[in-house]
């Protein structure tokens, strides 16, 4: 198992390089430069600025230079936000995004599994159909509709919760509620359905029949025999679920004005803020790759039939 983990960890590097390369060339091959929107600067000044970040060099050289910088841990400077280095930016904003993301995923997981199990145990009752309709609704309503609607309702009309922002001295943790809720809805819906299906599938299997034939009470059958196997597909889903959250955070952070990594993402791309975009992509990619590895390890622990060499 150790060999497998080490292999996977090292395997992150080539994948990362592919991602960096892809992003790098997509961005660079597009027209425009970081300074093309600065109309009030004379061309000579612009040329100078470009030279400063080596934009005059051949693309390949720029690429290699960047790669070298990244390997040394230097992610460069933003051309838009000039008062901090990108490393500083990441140190400030990554914890915020991570908190938001992990909280949302946890909420989705806990509520999703609970609802899914309940629906499975009361199959074909009103509760079951209701919960499943709710989860299809969850898949059908995008985050950028839920977010504003929640803001409208809880913030503007009811005044219970603050509209936007992050943890502050004024409203404390209340600010977190709406964004975490918004971010968790889609994954909650998928997890609820997946859990329900999975539990029903297991309940149909032969070894549950054996457990019943042994005279085990229903409670034992559900919690000791069914749950462990039923949660495996849910576990597998956590990888893509986390990817959903990363994507969703771009929208949620901008709707709720949260100082995380996703807030400036779209603007950075529009502004050709090369280093900023690259850095964001790299950080997100590393997080996802590590998360996937962790999921695989937990899976191997939970399913005794899986053996990694």
């Amino acid at each position: 198992m150790i060999h497998y983990v080490l292999r996977r960890l090292f395997g992150i590097i080539p994948t990362l390089i592919i991602i960096i390369t892809l992003s790098f060339f997509i961005i660079r091959l597009a027209p425009g430069s970081p300074f093309s929107s600065e109309r009030n600067l004379p061309p000579a000044v612009i040329a100078n600025l470009e030279k400063k970040i080596h934009l005059d060099e051949p693309l390949i050289l720029q690429y290699l230079r960047y790669l070298g910088d990244v390997l040394r841990g230097d992610l460069g400077y933003s051309t838009k936000h000039t008062d901090f280095t990108i490393n500083e930016f990441i140190v400030r904003s990554l914890p915020v995004s991570l908190t938001l993301g992990v909280a949302a995923l946890t909420l989705a997981l806990v509520t999703g599994v609970t609802f899914g199990v309940m629906a499975a145990l009361r199959r074909n009752t009103l509760l079951d159909h209701g919960l499943m309709a709710l989860s299809i609704l969850g898949i059908s309503v995008p985050m950028f509709v839920i977010g504003p609607l929640l803001q409208l309702f809880f913030s503007v009309y009811l005044g219970w919760l603050p509209t936007a922002g992050w943890i502050s001295s004024r409203s404390g943790g209340l600010t977190l509620i709406l964004p975490i809720l918004t971010l968790s809805v889609t994954d909650f819906a998928y997890i609820a359905r997946l859990t329900r299906t999975s539990v029903l599938e297991i309940l149909r299997s032969d070894f549950i029949r054996t457990a019943r034939a042994k005279g085990l009470p229903e409670r034992d059958i559900i919690f000791k025999h069914t749950l462990r196997g039923a949660l495996l597909p849910v576990l597998s889903f956590l990888g893509p679920a986390f990817a959903n959250i990363v994507t969703g955070s771009v929208v949620v952070e901008s709707i709720f004005d949260i100082p995380g990594m996703g807030r400036f993402f779209v603007n950075s791309a529009l502004n050709r803020d090369y280093f900023m975009i690259m850095a964001t992509v790299i950080v997100y990619a590393v997080i996802l790759l590590v998360a996937n590895l962790v999921v695989d390890i937990i899976y191997a622990i939970m399913d005794p039939r899986v053996v990694y060499e």
Binding site: T15, I18, I19, L22, S23, I26, I27, A30, P31, G32, I136, L137, I139, S140, V141, P142, F144, V145, P148, L149, L152, V156, Y190, R193, L194, T197, R204, P233, F237, G239, A243, V246, T247, V250, V251, S254, I255, F265, V266, A269, L270, R272, I277, T280, V281, Y284, A285, L288, L289, N292
Partner: protein, 343 residues
């Protein structure tokens, strides 16, 4: 042994018929089907429907609320009256002679201009464009993009998955490794970057969306091809002496198509969502064209003052997606009542 014995082997068509009968027993799914068909018909007939053009701007009619009874002019008069009375109320007086004259003059002006007779069932947006037609035409764009995106990615997935599954060996390993790597990428981020830097137009949009989401289809098709390739009835067909093309057409194809139909239905909502997501970020369709996502984006900033601009496109989109998803679920259950694999 005549090749007619192939008739005895399971055929894709009879599976389809059984699924169809099971499907129609599911009332909610059938209801969803009707809703989806309704949307489709409205979208198709849009140019001939008695609605305003979606691009027509009547700047005087900015941000009018929805109304079943009052036309544009009456709403404008109401608005003016409300403003005046509100100010008067705050100053604790009733309307002055001057203000009443102002109102009457305005009303006369309104009555003389025929354009104020326009009705806006769902209100107007910030440029005085009719929300009803915006929502309908926006739906057209969203649905078409969703369909094209889904079909394109399925096409790519079919080809890649089919090749991978059928030929196996090194081609298979290589392609699947490729898919695995791509699977772990935060691809929406790359799509965002792509759209931001290469500009937003329809081609880029479809290319970007389809280009990154064929992965699941490829895996699915490959899995199916592999299992069918080794399944007993294919072997039986071989033993009888059926030729390869015949096997492919008669047996492999219908079975794969059945799954593809279900999958497409479930994919279209994802594509509509992705396109809406991009439009919301300002990276999707560009003005004057609208999609549901871009309509929501337009409306978010002023949603507290003009909530109908957000509610109607959002509602239209959510209802459509809900019904598409329900439909897809119904189809999947109809084909295989016990299998509910999340694809």
């Amino acid at each position: 042994m005549s090749s007619d014995n192939l008739e005895a082997l399971p055929k894709g068509m009879s599976l389809f018929q059984k699924a169809l009968s099971r499907f129609f027993k599911n009332k909610m799914a059938v209801a969803s089907l009707f809703v989806v068909i309704f949307y489709g018909i409205v979208a198709l007939l849009a140019p001939w429907l008695p609605i305003h053009g979606f691009e027509e701007q009547v700047l005087d009619h900015q941000n009018l609320p929805p109304s079943l009874t009052k036309n544009g002019g009456e709403l404008l008069v109401e608005r003016l009256r409300f403003e005046l009375e509100d100010r008067a109320g705050r100053e604790n007086r009733s309307l002055t002679q001057q203000e009443n004259e102002q109102l009457e003059k305005f009303e006369a002006q309104i009555r003389s201009d025929p354009k104020h007779a326009r009705r806006y069932l769902l209100g107007t947006d910030y440029l005085g464009r009719d929300m009803l037609s915006r929502v309908i035409y926006g739906g057209q764009i969203s649905m078409v993009l969703g369909l094209i995106g889904a079909l394109t990615s399925i096409l790519i997935g079919l080809i890649v998955g089919g090749i991978s599954g059928y030929f196996g060996g090194r081609i298979d390993s290589f392609l699947m490794r490729f898919v695995d790597i791509l699977y772990s990428l935060p691809y929406m981020l790359l799509v965002i970057i792509f759209m931001a830097v290469f500009g937003k137009n329809i081609f880029n949009l479809v290319f970007a969306l389809a280009g990154v989401s064929w992965l699941t289809e490829a895996r699915l098709v490959r899995g199916m091809v592999l299992s069918l390739k080794n399944s007993e009835f294919i072997q039986a067909a071989r033993v009888i002496g059926a030729s390869t093309p015949r096997i492919l057409v008669r047996h492999l194809f219908p079975n794969v198509m059945n799954v593809v139909i279900v999958f497409t239905t479930l994919r279209i909502p994802s594509f509509i969502l992705m396109e809406a997501f991009l439009s919301f970020l300002g990276l999707g369709v560009s003005a004057p064209m609208a999609s549901w996502g871009s309509l929501v984006e337009d409306a978010v900033g002023s949603m507290t003052i003009y909530p109908w601009r957000l509610i109607f496109p959002a509602l239209a989109m959510v209802i459509f997606l809900f019904c598409m998803n329900f439909l897809g679920e119904g189809l999947r259950e109809a084909y295989d009542p016990h299998s509910e694999k999340i694809l």
